[in-house]
């Protein structure tokens, strides 16, 4: 090959790609230096019998075989997690979007409301939350005190296997602050002049919502939907603190990652836990890929 041509091919490739890679440089250092190593290691460990305390031994696909053929708790925890994802994510997003729309109007005292609504999300997951939730949802808790006004005698929501998962869904919705803030930031980015122009054309409020607000908000809706779904699949802390790490009662709040955590740190089967984690990754990756594929039909970018 002609040397001059080769140089110019290189320099062209350099010119075309260098800026992107330079902006990504910190990320690359982090990715190759800190992130990818542990990820690959965990993939390797999913084919071993690693017990945390002694060196791992290769067991082939045993962990994956056990998962699908001989582990009722794998199925039970997957069922709990799917139920949680299906109900908590849409409800939380709808709630967050509704409140964000309400708080985006020009009203007196809005910063105060925004702050108040965000407060529950500030609490994170402390021991205090576990005690609070019991105060609310136990048999003699506040929720039942309230229902008693209407003559309804409620069960002990938090400790009855039929309802306990719902108390965690309520907790997840209660902490809706983060998607709300992201929605608010998204609403902020919609240029006001578009509304002005539309109202000059005599467009109604609901028409403006459907024709301007929602389409321009779709990148943010898309983001929140993906992130909340991933987070819900990985959800660990609420169940961990409220059931004391047990998945109580009768494994009705045994989230997938809680089960994974038990396997890894309580029963010393990190190899098996790694296999569980990689199956979850596969599942979530499929969901995300599907979302990205369909996104071109409903997400509106400006590029």
């Amino acid at each position: 090959m002609d040397r001059a041509v080769s140089t110019s091919w290189w320099s062209r490739a350099w010119q075309a790609n260098a800026p992107g890679y330079l902006f990504l440089l910190p990320w690359f250092i982090g990715f190759f230096g800190l992130t990818i190593g542990p990820i690959i290691t965990s993939f390797y460990l999913s084919f071993t019998n690693f017990d945390l305390l002694t060196a791992p031994e290769w067991v082939g696909a045993d962990n994956y075989v056990r998962m699908f053929t001989n582990d009722p708790k794998f199925l039970a925890s997957m069922r709990v997690t799917l139920f949680f994802v299906i109900f908590s994510v849409p409800l939380k997003l709808a709630f967050a979007l509704g409140v964000a729309l309400l708080l985006n109007r020009g009203m007196r005292g809005l910063p105060l409301y925004r702050a108040l609504f965000y407060l529950p999300s500030l609490l994170g997951a402390s021991v205090a939350i576990a005690i609070l939730w019991r105060q609310l949802f136990a048999g003699d808790g506040l929720v039942n005190d309230f229902l008693a006004i209407f003559g309804i005698q409620g069960p002990s929501w938090i400790s009855n296997p039929r309802y306990s998962l719902w108390t965690l869904i309520v907790l997840s919705i209660w902490q809706f602050g983060s998607p709300m803030i992201i929605f608010l930031a998204g609403l902020r980015q919609i240029p006001q002049d578009m509304y002005e122009a539309a109202s000059l054309d005599g467009a109604s409020k609901s028409r403006m919502f459907w024709k301007i607000t929602l389409p321009l908000l779709t990148p943010v809706v898309f983001f929140n939907a993906i992130i909340q779904t991933i987070e819900a699949f990985k959800s660990f802390t609420p169940a961990f603190i409220i059931s004391g790490g047990t998945g109580n009662p009768i494994n009705s709040t045994l989230f997938y990652t809680l089960y994974l955590y038990q396997e890894a740190f309580e029963f010393f089967r990190m190899g098996y836990a790694s296999a569980l984690a990689w199956f979850l990754l596969l599942l979530v990756a499929l969901f995300t890929a599907f979302s990205f594929l369909t996104s071109k039909y409903w997400v509106h970018y400006d590029d």
Binding site: L53, G139, I158, S159, G244, T246, N251, F265, E266, F267
Partner: protein, 425 residues
């Protein structure tokens, strides 16, 4: 040090560097590292002893303490990362797992030397053995016990339960509770309490596990057990399944603290902790008997051990410090009976007069079990903890919520436990 700063500088820039260098680790190389679970109250006592040790010329100790739930993942991570501390507080439930994998070191070579253990109780020493080798030194003996709300019993006009109380007496007591309007159930649902099951089995002349790690009970035992509790539940003697499921382990979720029942199964060394979060006066007693002449179900259990990290470079120094903890009378006075009753005769004698009233109660309880006391059971198999937390509790809840009959539950527990035991080997 300089070399590490250079690397940091490369990554973080000089401002962050100054900060990071300012709070970099402060351990001297020869300090012993110690880790234990507990809260500040226990830490104060523990560090009081390490201070005494330093004053007596021993090496400095860098201690670290965490809550029970945080302790185990951190310890596992440190061990897996080759960074295990020199002295590790161990629990009966995990000692086999750690010992079998050499994550803690056998201490036999130090016995008589760094660890004289001259007047150490033999059964407590045996409790720290795995496969015949000594892996943990008990920091205190302990026994299962009922925590009892004394005020409720006064209201009901009943005497406190004692050595002659049997399971058969419970319904009559519950009736007194109901007629006098105490407003709670007599007792928590103990069907999912492994210690209570064990105690009941031992009174039947059985046990949880044999010395070679097999089940030491039969299906019928488990069926009878679940049946007994189902009857107590139906008669309103114990709390409902829904209430019992509020108990997720911590003391603040127990039926006693939540005010659902006046009696719960617990451990003698938790009396002080229970009293702190309960308004009414709490006391302890033995578990109910199956008959007044039944063999002893109780035993003095080593509640917490100190073990030495398997990769520790200072095993002998660590053993010396452990010895100070269990044999020095001044150390014992600082420790009290917070972790359990000291296992050395001379230490117990030095300690007894200095204890406060509640601690005396615990000490006397363990000392005066009398005919309730049986032999120490062999150390449980490695997977005993899994059987307890992932099987026993769940099945007991299934019976409580009506998803299983006692017969079904007994069978499920037996086969499930055997599955877990066989998978382990």
């Amino acid at each position: 040090m300089t070399l590490r700063i250079d690397r940091r500088q490369f990554l973080m820039g000089s401002t962050a560097l100054a900060v990071a260098a300012g709070i970099s680790p402060a351990f001297a190389a020869e300090a012993l590292r110690m880790i234990f679970w507990g809260s500040q109250a226990r830490a104060d006592r523990t560090y009081g002893v390490t201070d005494l040790y330093a004053k007596a010329g021993g090496p400095a100790v860098q201690g670290e303490f965490l809550a029970w739930g945080d302790y185990w993942p951190k310890l596992a991570t440190q061990t897996a990362g080759g960074n295990a501390p020199d002295i590790i507080q161990m629990d009966y439930r995990y000692i086999v797992e750690y010992a079998k994998r050499n994550a803690i070191a056998p201490l036999d070579e130090f016995v008589g030397g760094a660890l004289p253990l001259a007047d150490f109780d033999k059964d407590q020493l045996d409790g720290g053995k795995v496969d015949g080798k000594l892996y943990g030194i008990s920091l205190g003996a302990n026994s299962v016990a009922l925590m009892i709300n004394t005020v409720d019993f006064e209201k009901a006009g009943l005497e406190l339960p004692g050595q002659n109380t049997t399971y058969a007496d419970l319904p009559a007591m519950a009736e007194a509770f109901a007629s006098k309007g105490v407003g709670k159930k007599l007792i928590a649902d103990g069907s999912g309490s492994e210690p209570m099951f064990e105690n009941w089995l031992r009174q039947r002349g059985k046990a949880l596990y044999t010395a070679d790690g097999k089940l030491a009970w039969e299906v019928q035992d488990a069926v009878d057990w679940f049946k007994m509790w189902a009857d107590l539940r139906a008669a309103g003697v114990c709390v409902s399944a829904e209430d019992q499921a509020l108990d997720t382990g911590p003391l603040e979720t127990t039926m006693l603290t939540l005010g659902k029942a006046s009696v719960i199964p617990s451990n003698s060394n938790q009396l002080v902790a229970f009293q702190a979060i309960n308004q009414d006066k709490i006391t302890i007693s033995n578990f109910p008997r199956i008959a007044t002449d039944a063999p002893g179900g109780h035993y003095r259990k080593p509640s917490m051990f100190f073990s030495v990290g398997g990769s520790s470079a200072q095993k002998e120094e660590a053993a010396k410090l452990i010895n100070f903890f269990v044999s020095n009378p001044d150390a014992a006075k600082v420790l009290g009976v917070e972790r359990g009753i000291p296992c050395s005769v001379s230490v117990r004698e030095a300690l007894a007069p200095t204890l406060d009233a509640q601690s005396q109660v615990a000490l006397n309880f363990v000392a005066n079990l009398g005919s309730l006391l049986g032999v120490l059971p062999p150390s449980p198999p490695a997977k005993a903890g899994e059987i307890d937390s992932s099987l026993f509790r769940v099945i007991s809840q299934e019976v409580g919520f009506g998803a299983r009959s006692p017969e079904d539950a007994g069978n499920a527990l037996f086969t499930g436990a055997n599955d877990i035991l066989s998978r382990a080997s």
